[in-house]
């Protein structure tokens, strides 16, 4: 391994600009003549719009235009789309209600877009929005997930009982049979709390239209600018695809929430042509809370069957998934194909059956948030496994070990085929790092101080490296999920890599350069990574689902291989040797068995000056592209162990130790991978202990600011002990599995298993706030008194 090659903890190339304040985020872009957009949002969760009078606003100072849904409809601008078709058990397609970018006749959640004011300054636009008169007929709202289908309130005309789909996966009959012969059945009811993604950079958009060329440009906070362009052109119809340039520059975190195509960027592009000015919108945090797609929000009943030997023989799950007021871009896939296929966890479970009811409510749309379906599945499996072990009186680590899958490939009953893994190796390492054998003495020491200590396991698995296009197409995806790359070699031997992946914190400019530098034998400083601009990168599917390493880098590797192959042809002419005799090694093309060789850069120059071969024999130049479509999902897996100490007098839960042992396959940059693990755990701990989006009965979001929604701060978290095991992924050329979501998937059950271990009972929901834990601790002390 070289200092900058694969496996080296190379310091990030992009950091120079970020630590000096030179990062360029969307809100840092200001276009000549730019106007500012401000969206008037619904103050009601559910209301019919009798009328909108924009007249008073249009005469306010600085106002350029005020638009409503009627203006969009007049220009035949289509609604926002959901790109994954789910079919119900009975074969019927999901019930997708209309999702106009600006409301037409009805608003369906607090924050829904009613009108947009475009003015010279943002302050003027805000002032004018207050002058718009909207006559609402306020309707009752449905807010709670579990109540969605039991109310007369109807969110969309297409669904009488607010059901989007009644979907299922697995084998019902086999599962029922397994439960019929079970020795023991463990039951659990779980709420997976609704979360607000909250990347620290709020969403933003600048739309621009050039009347001379008929070209549109959109600067947007996107994890997948090409997907945004495709949806905005092919489905929403804002601009033709070849006339729309989408630029996603530095993006300040996404966590899924910046995958989706929202109303605001749609309106900014469209309005730029209408007002003949660039139009800029930047979300404030309050708007972000209201209108960024939220995550999770499941209500689940699940049961696990075990036989007389303590082997898991069946799992059945019923989940109600709140999808909010509209179907966001990938919302329907999250509680279905990103959820139920993970319900086998790391365990050999012969029979699984899962039913999922997707429902509408008068709340913000719910879509993918870090992990997306897989944290929800892992929470179900790992809470159930823990509870089963406790009910059977078995050690939770050893109960897991007994049920681990040990033979690969392993086909689960829920359509996944795990390719490789060594779950016991991760467990052993985690037990060692966490000093599990001395946990009892630590628990006793805590008890002496009047504290409750508990330990919780989470043996998680995820399916990422999303995803084989044919497979997801058969499951309802509207797109393929391959990735593209182009490697442009310059005559001087430096290289630009254009990738369809997008970096919004993942460090692609470093890791991708490490790969290329390693393969081509050139300095990492000779490699530039270009991403986030549809005019530069031909196409790409973007970054989510821990796919940029496994899929994005595999595409780069494939393109690099083509560059080397072309380089060999050039070298053969230069050396007047047979192409079959040309070797490429350590950055040099040489003739086998001789000392004749030239550096990569010298051959690159030869490719461009083209003096040594004729155009009939070989094309000049050195530039290759590749599309890579994975053959399977990847299956990162590991064991996280959380050790907590609870003060029963205050309910404060302190995380004393966190052990993470993950198998991500081959790792390009361990420093960056560990950073991803840390961040994922923090979001998972946030879900378990602190975070929860709360709507009141009328549909007002109570937790709509950082004052009310408890984000993890430095003081809330410990330092993490991170270890790795490695089984290389066999389904991609680099052996990478992906690491971006693991922590967020693993953490919530580890925390809750630790808290319930400390309390001695199972009755605690997320977020386990001090108040909730205090109540639960009193119940543990005096079961009758707390009833």
């Amino acid at each position: 391994m070289t200092e900058t090659g694969i496996g080296a903890p190379v310091r990030r190339k992009e950091d120079q600009r970020f630590v000096t304040g030179q990062g360029r985020y969307v809100d840092d872009f200001n276009r000549p003549g730019q106007a500012h957009a401000y969206f008037l949002r619904s103050p009601h969760a559910h209301a019919a719009i009798r009328s909108i009078d924009t007249g008073p606003a249009t005469i306010m100072p600085g106002v350029i235009a005020v638009f409503t849904g009627d203006d969009l409809a007049a220009d035949k601008i289509g609604g926002l789309i959901c790109g994954w078709m789910i079919h119900s058990k009975d074969g019927s397609p999901m019930k997708a209600g209309p999702h106009p970018a600006l409301a037409q006749g009805k608003v369906r959640y607090v924050g829904d877009h009613v009108a947009v004011v475009i003015a010279e300054t943002l302050a003027q636009a805000k002032d004018a929005a207050e002058a718009i008169v909207v006559d609402y007929d306020v309707l009752p709202a449905v807010v709670e997930t579990a109540q969605a289908t039991k109310t007369p309130v109807q969110v969309h005309e297409v669904s009488a009982d607010n059901t989007v789909f009644n979907w299922h996966l697995g084998n019902k009959d086999e599962t029922e049979a397994a439960f019929a012969r079970a020795k023991h059945v463990t039951k659990i009811d779980l709420v997976n709390n609704r979360l607000v993604p909250n990347p620290i950079e709020p969403r933003a958009a600048v739309g621009e239209y050039d009347f001379g060329t008929d070209n549109y440009t959109l600067y947007t906070t996107s994890q997948n600018p090409h997907v945004a362009r495709l949806v905005l052109s092919a489905f929403i119809g804002v601009a033709p695809e070849h006339k729309l340039r989408v630029i996603a520059p530095d993006v300040g975190g996404g966590f899924g929430s910046k995958i989706f195509i929202y109303a605001e960027e749609t309106v900014c592009v469209w309005a730029a042509k209408k007002v003949k000015r660039p139009v800029k919108w930047t979300s404030d945090r309050s708007e972000a809370f209201l209108s960024d797609a939220h995550g999770r929000d499941h209500v689940t009943h699940a049961e696990m069957a075990t036989d007389e030997n303590g082997k898991i023989i069946g799992l059945r799950v019923h989940t109600t998934a709140n999808l909010g007021a509209y179907l966001s871009t990938f919302s329907s896939s999250v509680p279905t194909y990103l959820y139920a296929p993970l319900l086998s966890g790391q365990y050999d479970i012969p029979a699984i059956y899962c039913e999922v009811d997707g429902v509408y409510t008068n709340t913000a749309p719910v879509d993918a948030y870090r992990g997306a379906g897989r944290p929800e599945a892992t929470f179900v499996v790992e809470r159930l496994v823990e509870k089963t072990a406790r009910e059977l009186g078995q050690n939770p680590a050893e109960f897991r070990r007994k049920n681990y899958i040990t033979q690969f490939p392993h086909a689960t009953p829920v359509i996944m085929t795990y390719d490789t893994g060594d779950y016991a190796a991760s467990l052993d390492k985690a037990l060692e790092i966490s000093d599990y054998k001395n946990f009892d003495s630590r628990k006793q020491e805590s008890a002496r101080r009047g504290k409750l200590r508990g330990i919780g396991f989470s043996s998680y698995i995820e399916a990422c490296g999303i995803a084989p296009s044919q497979a997801v197409g058969s499951l309802g995806a509207g797109v393929g999920l391959w990735e593209s790359a182009e490697v442009r070699v310059n005559p001087t031997g430096s290289v630009e890599v254009l990738t369809g992946s997008h970096s919004h914190g993942q460090g692609h400019e470093t890791t991708f350069a490490q790969l290329v530098s390693d393969r081509l034998g050139i300095s990492i400083d000779q490699v530039s990574i270009v991403h986030g601009d549809t005019d530069k990168v031909q196409f790409g599917m973007g970054t989510y689902g821990s796919r940029s390493g496994a899929v994005g880098m595999s595409a780069i590797a494939k393109a690099v291989d083509k560059v080397i192959a072309k380089g060999k042809k050039v070298a053969a002419h230069v050396f007047e040797a047979s192409e079959g005799d040309i070797e490429f090694k350590d950055g040099r093309f040489g003739v086998a068995g001789t000392d004749r060789s030239m550096a990569f850069g010298e051959i690159a120059l030869q490719a461009y000056i083209a003096h040594k071969f004729s155009g009939q024999d070989l094309e000049p130049g050195l530039k290759e592209g590749a599309f890579y479509d994975p053959t399977n999902f990847t299956f990162p897996a590991g064991v996280h162990i959380c050790e907590v100490e609870i003060d029963p007098d205050t309910g404060v839960t302190k995380i004393e130790r966190w052990t993470a042992v993950d198998d991500f396959g081959v790792i390009i940059n361990p420093m960056i991978v560990e950073g991803q693990v840390h961040g994922g755990i923090a979001q998972g701990v946030g879900q378990a202990l602190l975070e929860g989006a709360v709507y009141d009965q009328s549909g007002q979001l109570i937790t709509a600011s950082f004052n009310d929604y408890c984000m993890p701060r430095a003081i809330d978290l410990p330092s993490f002990q991170v270890g790795m095991t490695t089984t290389p992924c066999p389904s991609n050329p680099l052996g990478i599995k992906g690491c971006g979501e693991a922590g967020a998937i693993a953490a919530p059950p580890a925390v809750i298993n630790a808290i319930t271990d400390a309390l001695g009972h199972e009755d605690i929901a997320m977020p386990a706030t001090p108040q909730a834990v205090w109540r639960a601790a009193q119940k543990a002390r005096m079961p009758m008194a707390a009833e």
Binding site: T20, G21, G505, H678, R713, A714
Partner: protein
């Protein structure tokens, strides 16, 4: 409009501003110093932290007129002669950032912590003192390491610290 005169990163600046202009808007929109970020509207996230007369303030909760006649230092003003400030270097070295959006505020807060608490900072002190800064990417693990190392680095470069 109101006239404000102040020193920003060593340069004198005078401008007419709407009285409701926030310091962060003045820095970003008037001076195009876009390294200072806005991450919330309730003075919670700390992405906007700058130094006002040597002390950390949230520039989203400070009016530009309040900064009249003061000395402001932003993230763009702490490196000297092309050399990173020790705290900037420490964030880079210890991978104390991912998306980079909270980073300028984190670094400005961290320098302020060192100015107040000295160059030897234990983990608990750093975590408690970072109360006013949110990061969604790193889980703080590497930020804590970076602040500790940056504090040590600042002890070794007194001239740079003095320039602050």
């Amino acid at each position: 409009m109101t006239t404000v005169s102040l020193t920003v990163n060593g340069q004198s600046v005078t401008a007419d501003v709407d009285p409701r202009t926030l310091l962060v808007q003045f820095l970003r929109d008037n001076l195009r110093l876009t390294g200072t970020h806005v991450g919330c509207d309730t003075s919670q996230c700390g992405a906007c932290v700058v130094h006002l007369n040597g002390q950390a303030v949230k520039s989203c909760t400070t009016l530009a007129v309040q900064a009249n006649a003061s000395v402001i230092t932003t993230i763009e003003g702490i490196s000297q002669g092309g050399e990173l400030h020790p705290m900037q270097a420490a964030f880079r070295e210890h991978h104390g950032l991912q998306c980079g959006y909270c980073t300028p505020g984190m670094i400005m807060s961290a320098i302020d912590i060192v100015n107040r608490k000295g160059n030897t900072l234990d983990e608990q002190t750093i975590r408690a003192e970072l109360e006013g800064n949110l990061c969604r990417c790193t889980g703080y693990h590497n930020i804590v390491k970076a602040v500790a190392a940056g504090a040590q680095g600042m002890a070794q470069t007194p001239l740079q610290q003095a320039a602050e």
